[in-house]
């Protein structure tokens, strides 16, 4: 039996970040991982010779630069490269090209609507203002609003001051913003349906909501508040794929003397006298530690690897009812050449951006209707990017891989469980939509990986395939994440913590959850803090 200061369950990027900070503080740390590869959903694997897919997450903008810098992830091999802007495809022949240059982008918007081209300035300023406030909270532990501890009161005052400094009107706007739909929010700015659809699409990504569902406005913000080198809303690719992020963090962990054990799925968290004391692995090994940190989602942590009888009343039920509905699928395609899309100029820069098959607001809402009925969307929203147009390391020269994120794809089908045939039929629906916009696309396909929520849950352990480890609605955000009363990473068993995206600030490859949890753990151990307190971006 091995003894550690801390055991982290799950080698996703947050688990690795958490472990790296604990190891940096001098703790003897082990990360246990059920798969024979690390990374969780920030993973890149070669499934077909010569092609490296980022199998799950595919782009990055949330990664906290304070952590990137503090752990010196560049020295550990991480290079984040921003990619150029996205083309939105309408239901028919209309295209909206998000040119990288602001003046060109303005001209393009004007081509669709002079009104909306002007409104975009106000939209961007408002989103930047909202983002600036939210971003300040990312690397901070949420205060408990009902606590009278000095620390919580101080934190509440800090946030209150920041919010108040935005002006009275903004406070009303924030409250409205957290509760309305992307559709309602965008109506305040835009008249053109195609522009609205383009701006609304981030509001549904990874969420079992439609563009007209209340709460989708915040998700929109969650997706645009990231940045690459200070360019808010910009998205980047990790050179070598998203797995390069996990690898760099693991390398930092290694440099601090931490350990990662693969093929080491946890059977159960060992509990004695209301305290977590270690884990029993599926292979029969037992590891003991003073601290156990779960990087699994809240549902999985409390319903799968902890004995219900070890938990205080009500926790199992909270976890069972934790909102973590899967809504999306992923189709990774190896291509023998760069696909050409109709209605676009032969522009080498436009080729290198993303593609968003958003259609119209109506198309996106109808796609959501399919999810509600328990089928995949027949005309889905697809967000694509061709990383190989940027990254020479992920496909052979002249050949490409295309990442397609598909919404919606339900975790449970109305007509019975997922089968390989149904999975392939879902993949086919994606290919036929792509073929509609890129005749001949099918002929370029060399290899394909189709992932429904079923595969995502079984391979990397995200319940229902929910990419955020729990939905990002206000009832599950900030001090409510994962459950009210447990917003500070400490869980209802002594010495048990959570560090995954089920905790504040939620999903996305940000490393913030893992870092924040490490700060709390070090505080409980009365060790000096090694975690950046705040992101250094104060715009």
């Amino acid at each position: 039996m091995s003894r550690y200061d801390a055991i982290v369950i799950g080698a996703g990027h947050n688990g690795l970040t958490n472990a790296a900070y604990l190891a940096k503080a001098g703790l003897k740390v082990v990360v246990v991982e059920k798969n024979d590869y690390i990374g969780g959903a920030a993973v890149s694997r070669e499934l077909h010779e010569g092609w490296t897919y980022s199998n799950c997450s595919y782009v990055c903008s949330m990664m906290r630069q304070a952590i990137h810098r503090d752990l010196d992830l560049s020295a550990h091999g991480l290079i984040l490269v921003p990619y150029l802007a996205t083309v939105n495809f309408g239901d028919g022949d209309e295209r909206l090209i998000g040119y990288h240059d602001a003046q060109a982008a303005y001209n393009e918007l004007r081509r669709h609507s002079a009104h909306d081209a002007d409104a975009m300035f106000r939209f961007q300023a408002d989103l930047t203002r909202y983002s600036q406030f939210i971003r300040k909270t990312l690397l901070r532990t949420p205060p408990e609003p009902t606590s009278f501890r000095l620390r919580d009161i101080r934190e509440l005052l800090y946030l209150g001051k920041k919010l108040w400094s935005l002006g009275e009107r903004e406070i009303y706007e924030y409250i409205r913003f957290f509760t309305i739909s992307a559709d309602d929010f965008l109506d305040d700015y835009f008249e053109n349906d195609m522009i609205k659809a383009a701006m609304a699409s981030p509001g549904i990504i990874g969420t079992a909501l439609g563009v007209q569902s209340p709460g989708s406005a915040y998700i929109l913000l969650h997706h645009v508040m990231g940045d690459v080198d200070g360019n808010i809303g910009a998205w980047g690719l990790a050179r070598g794929g998203m797995g390069a992020i996990s690898k760099a963090i693991a390398s930092a962990l290694d440099s601090f003397g931490g350990e990662v054990r693969m093929n080491a799925g946890v059977q159960q968290v060992l509990v004695r006298g209301g305290k977590a004391i270690g884990v029993a692995l599926e292979n029969g090994d037992e590891l003991r530690a003073d601290i156990v940190v779960s990087n699994l989602d809240a549902r999985r942590t409390f319903t799968r690897i902890i004995d219900r009888n070890d938990l205080p009343d009500g926790i199992y039920e909270k976890a069972k009812n934790f909102k973590i509905r899967g809504s999306s699928g992923k189709v990774n395609i190896a291509l023998s050449g760069l696909p050409k899309f109709t209605g676009l100029p032969d522009n080498r820069y436009v080729d290198r951006g993303g593609q968003a098959f958003t259609g119209s607001m109506e198309t996106m809402e109808r796609a959501y209707d399919c999810w509600k009925r328990g089928t995949w969307s027949d005309d889905p929203f697809i967000e694509s990017v061709i990383p190989s147009a940027w990254d020479p390391t992920v496909a052979p020269p002249g050949q490409h891989w295309m990442s397609n994120f598909i919404q919606y794809c339900p975790p449970k089908l109305a007509d019975g469980p997922w089968t390989p045939e149904k999975r392939d039929a879902f993949g086919e629906s994606v290919i036929s939509k792509l073929e509609r916009y890129s005749p001949g696309f099918r002929d370029l396909i060399v290899h394909m990986e189709v992932r429904t929520p079923h595969e995502i849950e079984n391979e990397i352990g995200l319940t229902e395939g929910n990419i955020f480890q729990g939905e990002l609605t206000i009832d599950q955000l900030f001090f409510n994440r994962p459950f009210p009363g447990y917003g500070q990473y400490r869980m209802p068993l002594k010495n048990l913590y959570m560090c995954g995206s089920s905790t504040h600030p939620g999903g996305g490859v940000s490393s913030a959850c893992g870092a924040n949890a490490a700060r709390e753990i070090l505080m409980d151990l009365k060790r000096p803090n090694t975690v950046p307190e705040d992101d250094f971006y104060d715009e």
Binding site: Q65, V228, P397, F536
Partner: protein, 400 residues
């Protein structure tokens, strides 16, 4: 308007690089500046994008406006050895050396590279025109000729992790065996293409040299080979970003060329720029020797350092103090930026040597919605360059 003899502004227009026809097609932002009289791209599409081509794929940079001097003759080596502070005797044939040359007071006139093509055949390359100084330097030597071949020799720098793969695709067999600072020659369109494994980006990279008449043919061959390797032209802005991360100094930014400074204290010595390793006192007399020997004994008054500055406000043009309260100014920033690869707020700065051991506080201004804000940020001296990837030194290099 056509560029005919009747163009009344012909004398005022910048000269065009032999690569200009291709570069003009790709400069869709019309972002032009001027370098040594040549129309020169600040950027083509987006500076940051081009910077990332250097770090992630590959890019080309037009080095035609660089000054190139062919120095030949039995006394060429002796003449160069008297000019620069390094020992040119030690430079092998088909090798390149970085060098600086100084006034008698030991102040740097310029930096550049010396290519040795044969025992009696060199090419000196530098950023600013140097004809007058070279003529002085050749004075008294019998068998040496200095020829300005700046306009006759076209140069294209190809930098980035896929650059070797592109040259291999172009058919330059054996290029992968070139070590850093090696020169190789290849037949190209009936002429000789010279390739040196050199650059100004701190990454894997090469410079291609060809007679001006063949410039476009070279360009087309490089771009055909590079199509699947992300090739992209980059301009001055991206170059400046890459070189700063690599810790390379830029003339007229990090040092003032001694022959052009008005005040005698405004130029620099090699020791001040931490280039003491370039000064060889064991070789025969060279310009600035006595002054540099004295400086070495006494220690430089100023030292150029690499700073890692807290926060993310670029410290361009900042003055540096010893305390947060700005009690005493101890130096100034020469170049600064946010480093996208290292994710650090980096700068090169001149600091009075006696203050190197103490606190370093940088006064930075930044505008938000047009209102300027001021911040004092702490700087930390970094011994090593910010970005030194192993791939830049590997032989043979990887394909990406």
């Amino acid at each position: 308007m056509t560029m005919t003899a009747t163009d009344p502004f012909a004398g005022e227009r910048p000269k065009l690089s032999p690569f200009h026809p291709r570069q003009a097609e790709l400069n869709i932002r019309d972002a032009w500046g001027v370098w040594n009289g040549y129309k020169f791209a600040e950027y083509y599409y987006d500076a940051e994008y081009e910077y990332f081509c250097i770090r992630n794929q590959c890019g080309t940079y037009d080095v035609c406006p660089m000054q190139k001097y062919e120095i030949r003759g039995a006394d060429a080596e002796a003449m160069l050895n008297r000019l620069v502070t390094r020992d040119v005797k030690k430079l092998g044939v088909n090798r390149v050396a970085y060098a600086v040359w100084c006034t008698d007071e030991g102040r740097i006139i310029d930096d550049g590279t010396i290519f040795r093509l044969a025992g009696d055949h060199f090419i000196l390359k530098c950023g600013s025109p140097c004809t007058a100084w070279l003529r002085k330097a050749a004075f008294g030597f019998g068998d040496v000729t200095v020829t300005d071949i700046s306009d006759a020799l076209a140069g294209l720098s190809l930098q980035g992790p896929t650059s070797c793969a592109v040259l291999k695709k172009m058919g330059l067999t054996g290029i992968e065996n070139a070590k850093a600072f090696d020169i190789m020659h290849f037949p190209f369109a009936g002429e000789t293409l010279r390739v040196s494994r050199t650059g100004f980006t701190g990454d894997l990279g090469y410079e291609l040299w060809i007679p001006r008449e063949l410039a476009l043919e070279l360009w087309d061959a490089v771009y055909a080979a590079g199509a699947d390797y992300g090739i992209q032209p980059y301009g001055e802005t991206a170059t400046n970003m890459a070189r700063m991360e690599a810790g390379f100094i830029m003339p007229y930014m990090d040092f003032a060329e001694a022959l052009k400074t008005v005040h005698f204290e405004h130029d620099q010595t090699p020791f001040e720029l931490q280039l003491g390793w370039l000064v060889d006192f064991d070789k025969p007399y060279f310009s600035g020797r006595a002054a540099l020997l004295e400086e070495k004994r006494r220690g430089p008054r100023w030292t150029l350092v690499r700073l890692d500055i807290e926060g993310n406000w670029p410290a361009e043009g900042s003055i540096i103090y010893d305390t947060e309260a700005c009690k005493k100014d101890i130096g100034y920033v020469t170049s600064a930026m946010w480093s996208p690869t290292v994710k650090a707020n980096i700068a090169l700065a001149m600091i009075r040597t006696e203050h190197l051991g103490g606190d370093i506080w940088v006064e930075i201004y930044k505008s938000k919605d047009l209102r300027p804000y001021r911040r004092m940020a702490k700087g930390t001296i970094r011994k090593k360059p910010f970005w030194t990837p192993a791939r830049a030194r590997l032989t043979p290099p990887a394909d990406y």
